[in-house]
Amino acid sequence: MNEDPSNPAGRQRGTWERDRALLDLGFGEDDGADDMRTGDSGPLEQAGDAIGRYRLISLLGSGGFGNVWLAEQTEPIRRQVALKLIKPGMDSREIIARFEAERQTLALMDHPNIARVLDAGTSATGRPYFVLELVAGKPITTHCDAFRLGLRERLELFIAVCHAVQHAHQKAILHRDLKPSNILVAEVDGKMVPKVIDFGIAKALGVSDEVIQSSLLATKAGVVVGTPDYMSPEQAGSTPDVDTRSDIYALGVILYELLTGKTPLAWRNPRLAFDEVLREIREGEPANPSLCVAKDANDHAAANLREQRGSETTRLIRSLRGDLDRVTMKALEKDRQRRYDTANALANDLRSYLDGEAVTAAAPTWSYRFGKFARRNKAVLMTVGLVAAALVTGTIVSLWQAHRADLSLAAAQSSKAEADANRLEANANRDKARQNLEQAKKAFDKYVGTVTDEPTLKTPEFSGLRSYLLEGAINFYENLDSDEGGDLQTRMDYARNLGRLGTLYHQTGNLPKALESLRKAVAMAEAIEAEFPNASYDRRASAMLANNLALPLTTAGNLTEAQAMRKLAVQLLEKHLSEHPGDPGVRHDFALVLSNYAVGLAGNGEMDEAEATYVRCLGIQSALATESTEPREIQQLGYLQGMAADLASRRGNHAKADAIYREAVELYESLASATPPNPGAREAAASFSVKRGDRLCQIGNPAAAVPAFEHAVEIFRALARELPNRPDLRLNAGDAKLKAGDALRDAGRLAEARSAYEEALALLERLAAEFPDVPKWQLSPAPALEKLAAMRTAAKEWPEARSLLNRAIGLQREKFSQSPGTEKQKLADLLKQLTEAHLQLGDYDVALTTAEGFSKMFPDDWEPWHWAALAGNRGLQIISTAAFPDEDSRKLTADLYAQRVVALLRQAVLNGYDGITRLQATQDLTLLAGHASFQDLLKNPPAPLDAEARLKRGLERSPLKFAIDYKASDPGRRLWERTDRTWTEIQPSGTRNLYTVSAVIKVNGIAGSELSRPDGKFTLFVPHRDEPSTLMMFKASGGAWGRFADIKDIE
């Protein structure tokens, strides 16, 4: 019996069966007798025994509660029945008492699809028993497969089962153990009739849910094994808690099995430990039935259904997809409130499906996904204060409801009203209602504003949530009273709400609805204006409606209509302005609307009008900015000035553009002196000065740009001195100085350019030295260094050039390590320049090392290696003329050097360079020619690498092991290991995923391996060990590369 551990054969799977059987003995019946004494025992009842008026014939099977026997009833009629004998050890008296109570209810169950409980009693030995209608049939799943039933027939059977369950539920009887083996399909009068057995037995026995949970897994040797497959999530929880919906869940699992051939658990992962199974039930997301069938086209259910009148897998998938998927998944909802309430509801939806009608199971809305999202991101949501916002929504709803109630009350009263007194009261109510609504709307606007402006929500991962929250607002507006008739005020209100609605739609990406709502709103506004051209009302609101409508119209390409709207906005606001001339808010909006109109005019080619409009709105805004010190006025002024200057430039009117900038600078400066200290205005002056300088350079007048830049430098420097807590101003000063240097250089004033660069460099290096923790500022001297180096190089001042280049390269390497994709080229260029400097200074060795470093950055391209080899060739020339102690040492040095050069050339050839023979013709390679390695290369050039070889080479550079921290499903540390071309990912839960290296590619300039999955759903990218990146990337099929995870512990 003892296993010999050195014999692996003794541990084959076959022995597991024996182990299982051994383990099953651990369950068994405890008949209380201490069998260590003597011992007879055997089953307590035997074939042939009489229990009441029934005679046991043969054992049909076992369950958690006892054995089921085939028995014969002797009186009053002879018939065969199923007799369930409850095992001893359960308190018989209590059982019987409870039983009697249940018995009435059980007897009331009279449904063709429920196996009837015929009788119940206690045996002579005091054991309770049930007598059940004998159902001679197979479990429903087996039956459907055996008879190769098609989709419709399966659903018909299932619907009948649902009705049966409903019948029982209505009598407050749960099944609690629904599974295919409890739904037998028998043949009755030539028809196939499903019958649910074992109803209510559990409850009658007063068995606790925990015991049910474990008994569901119990087994007796030789009988159908219980599985937790049909257990509902609430049953699988720590405290099992069941109601009718748990039965519905089980029905869902059975439906799933009928459609796809396996239960959701079986599809997911066939081998899980016990705790994992329960967790899977509670949390695991089953795949849609249509997907399962698609996944396994050889599956037997699909095969069965396929054979049904030649429906192919695709047709099956199509019929499953959509409604039938949704119905099934609704029955399988983890949250039982989202499941079907009743079995009949499930049956009805299936019936609708069969009749070709719509089902009630809705497509998963964002609110459903939001539930899961919210659970995962609860912390973030709390901090963002959106929970508060949601609470606000709740308040709003109640306020709004109060408003409606009041309104209808007012309406009712006014219709009955005879006397003035009544009318007054009605009006008072209406006013109160309106007040409520105003309050609600204010709160709501605030909510919408919060959601719209919340920066966290603007990130891509939250865009769905943002849309969801705004859609909630949409609901609100859609449901507001649509009082299309009525007085002006009400109509304006409605139009405004429509406008808000439209804007919300636009923000949530629903262009058609945005257009629909906004158009309607504007139409209403226009109608109002037509009816009341002389009335005083809030035309500003109407104007903004028109202005806002222009946006989606432009997106939709409706440019003419868009411009018409903008014009309308201008007209309405003009009129409004005439009634409220001094109002800064109105003027602010007017300036904005005018500028939008100008943009439209420019787009239409009406340049003069556009310019004139800009002049106008600039006039308005300048005045505003002068009168008020509010930052938003200055900001809008800056914005408008920029637009106006742009336009002037585009028209070729550079003088005009320049004038606008100059005026802007003067304006800001006078603002600043009028209301000191006003740093905002001075900063604006400085930035406009820079912009002016930029523009002048662009049009080829660098000389004029210089004073503009220098002016900016002055302002920034002064500001930086006054505001020591704003060191960023020093950065601005440095940048402006750099630009001055560029302008001077372009103007040919090289000496001045140099001193400008040096000044900028000094400034920025000081900043970097004072703030070692700010990476951006650490890197800021880089452009100055590069430019100075370039100047020195141009002037052939090599020693200075070299030292500058070294410094520049130091910084550039840092930039490169941060963003390898964008900074690689510049680093490469700098290295090339440095190589040149070294060569010019005669340092052949360092030159070659630098060149090698440069070429290594491009391991798979030939040009860099070719270039480096040529640089090396020059090095050789230097060696040939340099001073050496003796010829031998010169020769030795040259030999070693040449080998390195040839190695570079060889790599070039490997990478695809095919011009080596031509090379001799165009370059002076006499020195190289003398070396054996070179001759060798010429005679036997290596074949360039093909894809396979490249892959192999890439694998050498690929890591063998690493780890990542995965934050999404099954979060935690994941280990990755590679064997040749196969990667294995080990999740925290123990699940393993396999990937294959399919290619060596470059992503964002970083070389690495591309990993594919068997199902091709997405590919991953793992950078090579020697690439300066530890970023693993992810790409869904058809998508773009995105960040996946950082890799750590690389081996």
């Binding site: 019996m1 003892n2 296993e3 551990p5 050195s6 692996p8 054969a9 003794g10 541990r11 084959q12 799977r13 597991w16 024996r18 182990d19 299982r20 059987a21 051994l22 383990l23 099953d24 003995l25 651990g26 369950f27 068994g28 405890d30 069998d35 260590m36 011992g39 007879d40 025992s41 055997g42 925990e210 015991v211 474990s214 008994s215 897994l217 119990a218 087994t219 040797a221 030789g222 094994v225 599985t227 081998r271 899980l272 430990a273 016990f274 705790d275 994992e276 199974v277 280990l975 290991e977 080990i986 839960s989 123990g990 699940t991 393993r992």
Partner: protein, 246 residues
Amino acid sequence: MPLSPGNPHFPTTRWTGVLRVLGSEDTGRRKQALADLCRDYWYPLYAFARRLGRSQEDAEDLTQGFFIHALERDVFSLADRNLGTLRTFLLKIFQRYMSDVRDRERALKRGGGQDHLSLDIEGGENLYAADLATSESPELLFDRTWAQSLLRAAQAALAASEHQAGRGPQFEILQSFLTPDSVAEHGYESVASSSGMTPEAIRQAVSRLRKKFRKCLREAIAATLHDPDEARIDEELAALRVALGG
């Protein structure tokens, strides 16, 4: 003498008792109790570590080091009802131990004059090698090997008690019928003639034996539970059943 997996001397003391011993001041008794635990439960942990991808050496180090660490840090005294069964508790703290340990530390401990529990690693590795064909997750493998260890232990306890009661020879014959296997049923005839018992008597004896085995198994399980009762034993049985592929 090296300890092979599933050594016959399964502790019949309950886990609570073991815990008491582990918490006692008497280092001798503690060491013995630790050695007992280690001997009986090391293989599932070893297999778990191996299935996680650790090399043989690593897994050996981890398993050995774990028990030593557990003794030093009195980990078992932390075990209480809320931590579930010994099976789940052991796995949990082993997992924690695995992730805490750094390679350096392990290297230091190796052969560092510490208490060294000799485990039959080769035997364990052979066992593991035979299991490699399966695709179980490490946790599932752990549960399964745990279940199998328990079964072996229960069988051994049964054998011991039968021998002690003087029914040794009879036990040797009957033990192959322990599992209710239809093939075995037919075998009664063949045994009957050689043993001098009627098939019916054999059937009854086997039935008795099964009941005794049930008792042994349930006791073995109870030893791994804290405050065991029938319901909890049933639960644990069910969990082990799942692990064995049911």
